[in-house]
């Protein structure tokens, strides 16, 4: 996603990336970054929490329009209200993705 942002930016349209992995977006050299400490799949916050979603969107707009320099990063100071262990389990798919399944199979074959 940071790379896609770069290609859009290079084509003349300003971008901001709202991401749960802002350190990676920095490494990937996204032009403007908003970091959120939210589980994957929830870039703008919790379902049905309009205030949280709006706060995230407003920060994204502020960084999009107000950042002066390449690779500006501002993190959203909002904590996820669900305990980490629970949230960690909740965002993951019920069935492992094909690539994860493949890696697990390779690993278990290697250990036998």
């Amino acid at each position: 996603m940071p790379v896609l942002a770069r290609w859009i930016e290079a084509a003349g349209i300003p971008t901001v990336v709202v991401t749960m992995m802002p350190a990676v977006a920095e490494e990937r050299r996204a032009p403007r970054i908003v970091g959120v400490e939210f589980p994957f799949g929830h870039a703008f916050g919790m379902p049905h929490d309009r205030a949280m979603q709006r706060r995230t969107l407003e920060l994204a707009l502020r960084v999009l329009a107000g950042a002066e320099t390449f690779r500006t990063r501002i993190d959203l100071d909002v904590e996820w209200r669900v305990p980490v262990r629970e949230a960690y389990r909740a965002w993951q798919p019920k069935v492992p993705s094909p690539i994860v399944r493949k890696l697990l199979e390779t690993r278990s074959r290697g250990s036998t």
């Binding site: 290609w7 349209i13 802002p22 990676v24 990937r28 400490e37 929830h42 870039a43 969107l57 329009a65």
Partner: protein, 168 residues
């Protein structure tokens, strides 16, 4: 507060992301100044949550990904800003889609953006936002060769003054 970028990532995935540096060939700064006032700007949203319109669009190709786990569908969907939450479907094998289906605003806040437009904070929203499925082959060849160009053409056609991208 500084966000912990790996808080919700399985520990074994961390080396796949951390310390890898720039994407090959994408080291140089890119920058387009945001020229207008927000209140006079038209904004677009772009989500990588694998969102599509159930009644009128094909799903992202998950069958092929099942057969070729390193591959991810590189196509994109144009999501009408008028789409209702119940019109939205999700095709993404790497996240639990329950919350997304319950409230697509968590990935594509079209209603929140419309609200800000009604209040005059932003000038408006594009008529059609953008959705992709974020799991892609490592080299991003199809995104680079085809999809990115098509999305840029779409955004120009929609007169977008800026884009808010949100990975799933």
């Amino acid at each position: 507060m500084l966000v912990d970028s790996y808080k919700f990532l399985p520990r074994s995935f961390r080396p796949l992301y951390e310390g890898r540096g720039a994407f090959p060939g994408e080291e140089a700064p890119v920058w387009t100044p945001f020229a207008k006032r927000l209140s006079e700007s038209r904004l677009a949203l772009l989500s990588s949550a694998g969102i599509y319109v159930k009644a009128s669009q094909p799903t992202f190709d998950l069958d092929r990904e099942q057969e070729h786990p390193e591959w991810g569908d590189p196509t994109w969907r144009s999501i009408p800003a008028t789409a209702r939450p119940e019109d939205i479907a999700v095709a993404h094998l790497h996240i639990n889609d329950e919350d997304l289906l319950a409230d697509p605003e968590i990935a594509l806040p079209m209603r929140a953006l419309d609200e800000l437009a009604r209040e005059g904070v932003v000038g408006g929203a594009v008529a059609n936002h953008v959705a992709v499925m974020g799991y892609q082959d490592r080299r991003l060849e199809d995104w680079h060769g085809t999809t990115a160009g098509e999305i840029v053409a779409h955004l120009r056609n929609e007169d977008a003054d800026g884009v808010i991208l949100a990975p799933a």
